[in-house]
């Protein structure tokens, strides 16, 4: 770098000028992040604007294209009990706490993704509750009456139902744990995720 004599640029030759610039930029960005975090945490708390309370598992969940927003949005409909039971807030939360520990202890995220985060060896679970495959395949295959019953049977014994080019190993999930994870899936499918995954369950025929 040639020596500058122009006084306008002489400040830029001094590392301290750049140091102060770095410190002030960082400070401003951190303040903005802090403010956005306060708002975001409010929106994503269970019962917040984008994340329904855990008792949403007592209702029917759907996923539809909102043409005003041009985005796929979850819908929350009529009462649709899970395992034929109506859960109160405490009961639903206890089930979710259990489910999250199952998800962590069985390392689900190192094969699957949640909201697209995790590993890519298994399918994304964001909207798994809404997957048409339950009605189409797993309910008949597991000889179940309902989607939740099929899900519980599959989670407890995935090795009994091999399909396609992947197979889930048996992770020793017991019935209580499988029911909790099923409830968790139902709750997670109700989260508003800005349209991810786009068009879930709507296959475009390739020509």
């Amino acid at each position: 770098m040639p020596e500058q004599t122009d006084p306008i640029f002489s400040g830029a030759q001094d590392p301290r000028f750049w140091r102060d610039g770095a410190i002030s930029t960082t400070a401003v960005m951190l303040i903005v992040l802090a403010l956005l975090t306060i708002d975001s945490l409010d929106v994503i708390a269970a019962g917040g604007a984008n994340v329904p309370a855990y008792t949403v598992i007592n209702q029917e969940i759907g996923y539809e294209f909102d043409s005003d927003k041009s985005m796929w949005m979850p819908t929350i409909g009529e009462e649709q009990l899970l395992f034929g039971q109506k859960y109160d807030a405490a009961g639903a939360e206890a089930m979710m706490d259990k489910a999250k520990l199952v998800i962590q202890s069985r390392n689900c995220i190192n094969c699957h993704t949640f909201f697209g985060n995790g590993a890519y060896y298994g399918p994304d679970l964001t909207k798994a509750w809404l997957d048409p495959v339950w009605e189409k395949m797993w309910i008949p295959m597991t000889q179940s009456k309902t989607r939740e019953e099929a899900m519980v049977k599959f989670l407890m014994h995935p090795d009994r139902y091999p399909t396609w080019a992947r197979q889930m190993p048996n992770l020793g999930i017991n019935e209580e744990e499988a029911r909790a994870v099923t409830a968790y899936q139902k709750w997670m499918s109700s989260v508003h995720t800005n349209g991810f995954p786009a068009g879930f369950g709507n296959r475009q025929e390739q020509r």
Binding site: A12, Q13, P15, W18, G21, A22, T25, T26, M29, V32, L33, L36, T37, S40, V43, I44, A45, A46, E93, M96, D97, K98, K100, L101, V102, I103, Q104, S105, R106, N107, I109, N110, C111, F115, G116, N117, Y120, Y121, G122, P123, D124, T126, K127, D131, P132, T163, P169, L171, T193, N194, F196, P197, A198, G199, F200, G201, N202, R203, Q204, Q206
Partner: protein
């Protein structure tokens, strides 16, 4: 040679050993994709994957620790304060890593209780290590921060680079605390988890590797301190100026408000800027010295870092990060392509440069010669580019067929996974992965050859 530098050499050796584990686990993980039922129920994909990415984190952390312990005493003209404690913690860390790996492989899963979180694995990507081991990592990081700060205080000297390094230790250590909680609400859990992962990988680690490169450039090319410091501050300003809100690109789809789409999109589009700056800096310095140096391998790895960081982290990241693209590319092998290129380009290459600098100094080798390093350089870089290319093709096929056309269901996922283009990419990844592994073996051979060749630098008898 300072005691701090002896510790650095141990960290480099451990880092390379763990990197070997990473390569083995990575090759295994690649096989699951091309061979149905591979090791099912014995060592499931999730275990291989966990070993692969945990080895990555530990190997890079050990590399950073090694580089810092290597340069610190030279930079401050004084033995690192508290080096005995740091030495002790090195052995504790190695033992802990060994125990964790054994538990991962032989115990694998726990029950849905706190015991599993404390002693088996936490099942949160990158920070799966059970809590007892995570406490160990936290203590090691705190000790490093203490070593740097206390040495600067004892030396009554603080250079620009050391100042930046001390400042970076604060967020590095603090955000690691997000490795511990098990928050029920997945949206909130991922919100904080990204503070840790993003602020490490796309902010503090970039700053630490920037400091390490600054110190390397001064050693390798005698670049004047004033210029190195101006570049470093500029880089820090740009990395944090774009990277702190660049965090927003992880908040597109986890339930967070829609304003993150715009904020994340804009700021992560700017994230490549500081990385481009580093390329300019590296080329400028290389040209000024007419590419003359006594340590060609270190110099070439340094150039590989500048380009790899810009292309792998910057360009590959930008390519998939605008929300309009990310809606379809998120959570596919496209991400894996970017991840491999970025971690390798930004960090692995930089650490290898420092390893060559350290070994040259330690064995008092006047000029690093031989051809083995060239083969290692070629095989590792081509192997990585091949893997990245294969994964990109698989990821694009997955984005289009599973996501855009298929509607992301289980059936669409399976159709995507068996798509011929997806499978070709997977075979290419495995093939180039083997090439990468060969490159790693040659690299270790070359370093071993250097160690046998020279004479060790005598230890200094100075009070710590």
């Amino acid at each position: 040679m300072y005691k701090s530098q002896q510790l650095a050499l141990k960290y480099f050796a451990a880092s390379l050993f763990v990197f070997g584990l990473l390569v083995v686990a990575g090759l295994l993980a690649a096989i699951y994709y091309v061979k149905f039922g591979f090791l099912l129920g014995v060592l499931d994909f999730s275990v291989a994957k966990m070993l692969h990415i945990n080895a990555l984190i530990i190997s890079l952390l050990m590399g950073f620790l090694g580089a810092i312990y290597w340069f610190l005493p030279d930079e401050l003209g004084q033995e690192t304060v508290g080096i005995a404690l740091a030495h002790l913690l090195f052995y504790v860390l190695c033992l802990a890593v060994g125990i964790v790996v054994v538990v991962y492989i032989f115990v694998q899963y726990g029950g849905s209780d706190q015991f599993a979180m404390w002693f088996i694995n936490q099942g949160r990507k990158y920070v799966e290590a059970p809590r007892w081991a995570s406490i160990g990592i936290f203590v090691v990081l705190c000790t490093l921060a203490y070593n740097i700060a206390a040495t600067a205080l004892r030396a009554r000297k603080i250079t620009g680079v050391i100042g930046v390094l001390i400042a970076a230790m604060v967020p590095l250590t603090l955000v690691y605390l997000f490795a511990f909680p098990a928050i029920t609400n997945m949206s909130v859990d991922l919100y904080w988890w990204w503070w840790l992962v993003h602020m490490w990988v796309e902010a503090t680690w970039e700053i630490i590797i920037g400091c390490i490169l600054a110190l390397s450039l001064m050693k390798l090319l005698d670049t004047p301190r004033r210029i190195v410091e101006i570049w470093l501050y500029l880089e820090v300003g740009l990395v944090l100026g774009t990277g702190i809100l660049g965090l927003g690109h992880h908040y597109f789809w986890i339930g967070t408000p829609a304003y993150w789409l715009s904020i994340g999109g804009v700021f992560s589009a700017l994230e490549p800027l500081p990385l481009l700056g580093m390329v300019v800096h590296a080329i400028y310095d290389a040209g000024k010295h007419q590419m003359k140096t006594t340590n060609k391998p270190a110099f070439y790895w340094l150039l590989a870092e500048a380009f790899g960081n810009f292309i792998g982290a910057g360009v590959w990241g930008f390519m998939m990060t605008l929300p309009q693209i990310n809606l379809f590319s998120h959570g596919t092998q496209w991400t894996v392509s970017h991840g491999h290129f970025a971690f390798y380009g930004a960090y692995v290459t930089g650490i290898l440069a420092v390893v060559y600098i350290a070994v040259q100094n330690w064995r008092q080798i006047g000029e690093v010669t031989g051809n083995a390093w060239k083969w290692a350089f070629a095989f590792l870089n081509l192997g990585m580019i091949g893997m990245v290319g294969g994964l990109l093709i698989s990821g694009m096929a997955q984005s289009f067929y599973e996501r855009a056309l298929g509607g992301s269901t289980l059936e669409a996922f399976m159709a995507g996974q068996s798509n011929p283009w997806f499978m070709q990419g997977m075979y290419a990844r495995l093939g180039f992965g083997i090439m990468f592994a060969v490159g790693f073996v040659i690299l270790v051979y070359d370093l071993g050859r250097m160690v046998r060749k020279g004479r060790a630098l005598p230890p200094r008898n100075v009070a710590a």
